[in-house]
Symmetry: C2
């Protein structure tokens, strides 16, 4: 981020016709985007949404009320325009690329970019979710998606995910990286009841034992390989690549934030490029946000995923930029300052 | 509000391709707008912003760091397009009407609707802010503004205010209607320091004594007359008129919410038509929101007024409506429900 442009934006904010600081988070957002984009007049008009999908072997343990089939069915829904993120991308005039980073689909799906090392992960209650080579492939799939998106020179990148079972993987990653008991992190996901939540937490605790991921400071790559998801690895790879390409990333809910935690452990410099869009209703999200010292923009009790929360935050960025660029200064408007 | 349309919207939300409830506040917003607008497909496209301005005699007691001149200077800025609300109205493609409901301006200002019973209120530390006739005029000015706005059949009405000194009036109204010590409500307004805040609270406490507004359940009209503002009375009149015209109102920050509390005390049925847009950084706002059992949509530490926070919430309404109308059902998309 450019300190010079941040300071310039800060000075401009102070000169605008309003009590200093009175636009709160919107001022800080404009200042931060100015620094990230290296410009006096930050923008959030050109928005690229990239959604990574993957399936999870752990669903064999009954951790989701939905069958794995839904992942591939939803890939069709994203492309046909009926999913929440499809509607939001249209409303926001944003591009939407859907990447099959590891679903169970046997064939390439029309309209979807297929870039996967395998179909679904292994059941991490019994075996590693993926091999080291498959992890490297998935991280690179994230990078490749950012390279494609970068061609359109987006002002902001929205990252989303889909994958039945992926709150279980995200909770396992979070528990391991933060060395917390899974029971403190696990939530209802797509709609588990209390008994289901207890079972999910126990499944994760056993798996972390199995893979030797408790106690010591865990290696983020080892954690991703053992209990991660292919779409989660792709998200982590995409965040690191976006930071290197100097593209600000709007982070969605629990799963994308767990990927952000992993990315920040792999490459701490990428943290600066992450803007946290919302606090979701999924229990573990608040814990990961705190670990990343993130203050999200919205708190709307969303728990859908797909990048939907990040997309909903896009208008805030746009309005923050419009206010920064379009308001008159005290001098221009001949308005008196404080006595 | 139409219970039938609320229930229909609720049923539709359950049929859409997402875990039930996973769009959180956005689902409830769509359902509520369906009930208020009496339609299966609520909208927030056509937005009218009405901003009422007024001056305050209490500024003679040094309750604001800005001189009263700024109220009239800002009226010019609203019309010339340089104020925050001007930028937001352009970005949102919303209409903006500015009503001089009681500024000190000696003449009609170009581009502004002048509809005021007097220039500025009396200094309520020594005399009533206005007479009963002036209060009736200001309430009716609010109604007249809604009648003008209603011609364009707005889906939603955004109400805002401007008036140096008006957080002092709003705090006095709130303290009286909620029977709380002013020191619990008073905040920094446009930028007072701690000593200024203490002085402001003491000024209000003395005034409530003077006007006999402590203790018993206060009459909202008597409170408005004694310590109110002309723009605050106009806001209250506008909210009652909007509810009667079945137009949902997006309520802004502390001052508009204090007017909402007054309106709800005068006519409790209008409460249903109020959507609370944000929790501001001004101290008393949270207290008034609680008294109205309001859960605002945003919490962005705004404290500008002008209707800016309500305007910033407009995209949330639009996206909530777009999701409600545009998402596919499980059946349409051939997606499996929970096991």
């Amino acid at each position: 981020p450019s300190k010079t442009h941040e300071e310039g934006a800060e000075a401009r904010q102070t000169s605008l016709t309003k009590p200093p600081g009175s636009l709160g988070v919107l001022e800080r957002l404009a200042v931060r985007l100015a620094g990230l984009q290296g410009t006096d007049r930050p923008k959030a008009e050109n928005v690229a949404i990239v959604l990574f999908a993957g399936d999870h072997g752990i669903t064999a343990q009954g951790v989701s009320p939905y069958p794995s089939d839904v992942t591939v069915q939803m890939l069709g829904n994203f492309i046909q325009g009926g999913a929440a993120i499809s509607v939001l991308s249209r409303e926001l005039n944003a591009s939407l690329e859907v990447v099959d980073a590891g679903s169970l689909a046997p064939d390439d799906l029309p309209g979807v970019v297929t870039d996967k090392p395998r179909r679904g992960t292994g059941d991490f209650s019994a075996e590693p979710a993926m091999t080291a080579a498959e992890l490297a492939f998935a991280l690179a799939a994230g990078r490749r998606a950012v390279e494609r998106a970068a061609n359109a020179k987006p002002d902001v990148l929205v990252l989303g995910e889909m994958g039945i079972g992926n709150t279980t993987s995200a909770a396992a990653i979070t528990a391991s990286l933060l060395d917390l008991p899974p029971v403190e992190i696990v939530g209802a996901g797509a709609g588990l009841d209390d008994e289901g939540i207890r079972r999910k937490a126990a499944t994760i605790a056993d798996a972390l034992q199995l893979h030797g991921l408790t106690g010591a400071l865990a290696d983020p790559l080892a954690v991703l390989q053992a209990v991660g998801g292919l779409e989660i690895a792709a998200l982590a790879g995409a965040m690191i690549a976006a930071a290197q390409a100097r593209i600000p990333v709007l982070v969605d809910g629990f799963i994308v934030t767990a990927a952000a935690l992993t990315a920040a452990r792999i490459n701490p410099a990428c943290r600066d490029w992450l803007i946290f869009s919302h606090r979701s209703f999924e229990r573990g999200h608040q814990i990961v946000l705190q670990a990343l010292e993130a203050e999200p923009l919205l708190d709307l009790r969303l728990r859908l995923g797909e990048g939907s929360g990040a997309a909903v935050a896009v208008p805030l960025l746009r309005l923050a930029c419009a206010l920064h660029a379009g308001m008159a200064t005290f001098e221009e408007a001949s308005v008196s300052g404080p006595c």
